[in-house]
Symmetry: C2
Subunit: 464 residues, 2 copies
């Protein structure tokens, strides 16, 4: 007899945690650190706060093949409002990032999964302290009830916030394997620091080594902005939901202007003429046939303005160049920013760099690929990432012969990065994105070849 | 002001459908067909029924760059009990496969996601007809309420089941791109038929072409069996849950024997001696310290018998050989079955084959990799799959020079296949699994090299 059963979201992700990046003790330790760090960076950058983040990882126990650590992370970000603290980190699929805006977080899973991983490997509750800078600091000690996807409070306290502190502190215990994960964790911070010079990051590791990445720029990057959906980013279900949530007496013209990104009055009128729907039709009078026609027209009409890329927050070519130079001291560096584009109604920008020689890792002729998405360094799953696929293809046609190692850096900033899994380590090969990455790489490779020819010619001229 | 929000599982997977394989119209059509087909195969094989499955895909409309299809699938499987029909296909994270047993399905998502994809691209409800072979056949027409993760009934009917029909029929509409997906869909069925000679499969495509894969064996494979968790497959959270669900007066020795796979009385006693816990301790008297000690001991004790691989349902070397021979008519074929192994308490078996020449696709010297997991052909994401990574590494050390194309087939059967994402297209590189795949491939490659040498020597002997 088959056993039919329903799982809560926390039971589902607990059962399938490897899909979220918690596949073995070393990788889980890496994932927990990066997910919490990314939450802190979002909490700062989305609010134009210069980030100050401290992460401390200390060994507190040993098992047969793994170690138990205490992980402590503190930020000076926005903090979490009292009423949301427990849900934010004690409930899966609870998030402030379910809006159309560029951010590192997107799924509503990472922080809660990390804390759950600690709970299932050590049995200890977690401590979260947070304040939005108001008169109170709130502290909760809790566990996650996996069956019901709810936080279970062990204790709660509030303190007077005398010094108007604002930020979040998380402290919990988890099993991991730092010796095996160390290289990835340190690289993650190095690659992050290279592109976030406005952030002050301190990582204290179990060996007592302090990795400090001081702030070198006192200006926050332009924060990303929230937008409404673009007509090319919707499906029939979303259209019906948007219609249902609007007053039935509203006209379809007003609805289009109110609901969609960059659809003004005249665009709406032109579009409705194309769709053969009267602009003054009330939403309440739209039957299924008309809604279907509206939807088909929305996806096929080519008169909509492309999504606005000013709402994105790219790294910036200067920051990219200076960060790579500081980190790798290359002999040659070139950067390129592709014109903004969009994928299914989501604006995106590709920024890229090529660096040669100096302390670029690898052997002569190697091309190391460094990938970023929404300012997150991606260190795993290279083989299935669109940037890797494009680079491998270009290596065939460009036949780069280089006497020193090369590195290519790719960053994609978007309101929705098409990650291949909730582990956020590889980007799917969406055609528009693939095209921009290819054009960026071609430009960099061509420029590099020209540079090499000049260098070789100079050398030969000197020889004669 | 940040907008904090909770999503239901259906809202979450709707928003992130590309992670489940619904990334573009061609891929979505492929995913919908395979997910529903895999449900039908499970419904037959798990119940020792010789599968008879009919899939019909017919074009019913056109949009600018895509087409609208009606997808109809019928099987003679177990059917779904009346009370579970709507939840099985109208609710996410509802499944009969949340048990420890080998099956194609594992997430409780695939069927429901496919129907939801149809709903969001066409707005039409779905029709499901099912009977478990009893006196009634039930028909439901419904949609999925994405906000609440619930089915919304449009109509329900029951019919007298005069001919004791048993099975399930699903009919719905979805947007897709068959011209682009066709090659993958046909290959999927061909590769499935090659390893399931007991299945009778008919696919009728939009061009009116009939792809018929008749049954050639009248015997069902040994069905997989359900098992309890193995001690090496648990974490502290699961241990606590198992303890809480057992009567508090039960002794810890009885608890171990009752709760775990292949833990008998004497094993339990030996283990508890190692864990320094008295066998007659009542579960109710286990405090957190003792539970922690019990857990640490369970994961480190090496005296547990390995998981039983008889509960798996491999393809079988004969079936593998005959299926590949029938499909590709190679000049040379070799098969190998690795001894059973286990990964985190989950038993698994690797079966592999190498075929050369004949109608094997590709150029001379190419090695095409065909991957299967729990009898599902995996056609996407090759670059991140463990089998691909191993093969690429072995190509370096074996330097195969072949005058004709080669193919390597890999099948992994397990109670839990470590898929990299809910799209089930690539397998993660778990060390124990990677090792078995490598040993299987090494054996095949060595045997092939010996064969080639004999052939070459014979040819030279003939020449003299
Ligand atoms: N350090 C922090 N400061 C402020 N808010 C935070 C912090 N950490 C978490 N949050 C809040 O908790 C929510 C849930 O975090 P979580 O990491 O689980 O999901 P997410 O960041 O929204 O998405 P993702 O799964 O992609 O990381 C966030 O959306 C944010 O609102
Ligand atoms: N054709 C069918 N015959 C019998 N039962 C079915 C059929 N299709 C679906 N079911 C039932 O519905 C449940 C849900 O199916 P669904 O495809 O959504 O998830 P799953 O198969 O359990 O997991 P996965 O997401 O990995 O496919 C199945 O577990 C099974 O019990
Ligand atoms: Mg997060
Ligand atoms: Mg399924």
């Amino acid at each position: 007899m088959e056993e039919y059963k329903e799982l809560s979201p926390s039971e589902f992700f607990y059962r399938n945690k490897e899909i979220a990046g918690f596949s073995n003790p070393a990788r889980s330790l890496y994932t927990a650190i990066r997910e919490l760090f990314e939450n802190s960076m979002d909490a700062c950058e989305l609010n134009e706060i210069l980030p100050e983040i401290v992460i401390s990882l200390r060994k507190v126990g040993e098992r047969q093949k793994t170690e138990i650590y205490r992980l402590y992370i503190q930020d000076n970000g926005s903090g979490i409002p009292k009423k949301h603290i427990l849900n934010a980190l004690g409930k899966m699929l609870f998030s402030s990032k379910y809006v159309i805006r560029q951010s590192r977080g997107t799924f509503g899973l990472g922080g809660t999964m990390s804390l759950l991983y600690g709970q299932i490997t050590t049995g200890k509750p977690v401590k979260v302290v947070s304040s939005t800078g108001n008169s109170q600091i709130h502290q909760y000690v809790f566990k996650i009830d996996v069956r019901s996807n709810q936080p279970k409070i062990y204790s709660e306290k509030s303190y007077r916030n005398y010094r108007k502190w604002r930020g979040t502190i998380i402290e919990f215990y988890l099993e991991g394997n730092y010796p095996k994960a160390m290289r990835y964790i340190i690289n993650y911070f190095k690659l992050t620091a290279a592109i976030t010079p406005h952030a002050d990051i301190l990582f204290l590791d179990p060996y007592g080594t302090m990795y400090y990445f001081p702030r070198t720029i006192n200006k926050t990057p332009q924060p990303p902005k929230k937008i409404k959906p673009h007509p090319h980013g919707i499906d029939l279900e979303l259209l019906k939901t948007l219609i249902e949530r609007s007053p039935s007496h509203m006209t379809v013209k007003e609805f289009l202007v109110k609901s969609f990104h960059r659809v003004g009055s005249s665009t709406a009128v032109k579009f409705l003429k194309y769709a053969k729907i009267r602009p003054d039709t009330k939403l309440g009078d739209l039957d299924d046939t008309l809604i279907d026609r509206l939807y088909t027209a929305l996806t096929s009409y080519d008169g909509f303005i492309a999504p606005n890329s000013d709402i994105l927050s790219p790294i910036g070519e200067d920051v990219l160049r200076e960060g790579i130079t500081k980190e790798f001291r290359p002999e040659y560096i070139d950067t390129v920013t592709r014109p903004p584009s969009s994928y299914r109604g989501h604006p995106f920008i590709v920024e890229a760099a090529l660096a040669y020689g100096g302390e670029i890792p690898g052997q002569a002729g190697d091309i190391t690929l460094f990938r970023y998405a929404n300012k997150i360094p991606l260190l795993y799953d290279e083989g299935s990432d669109v940037s890797y696929i494009v680079l491998e293809r270009l290596k065939q046609s460009y036949r780069i012969s280089s006497d020193k190692p090369l590195a290519i850096f790719i960053h994609i900033a978007s309101t929705k990065v098409p990650f291949k899994s909730v582990g956020k380590e590889a980007i799917a090969d969406a055609p528009e994105i693939e095209r921009e990455i290819e054009l960026a790489m071609r430009t960099l490779l061509r420029n590099f070849i020209k540079y090499r020819r000049r260098v070789v010619r100079k050398r030969e001229a000197v020889r004669r």
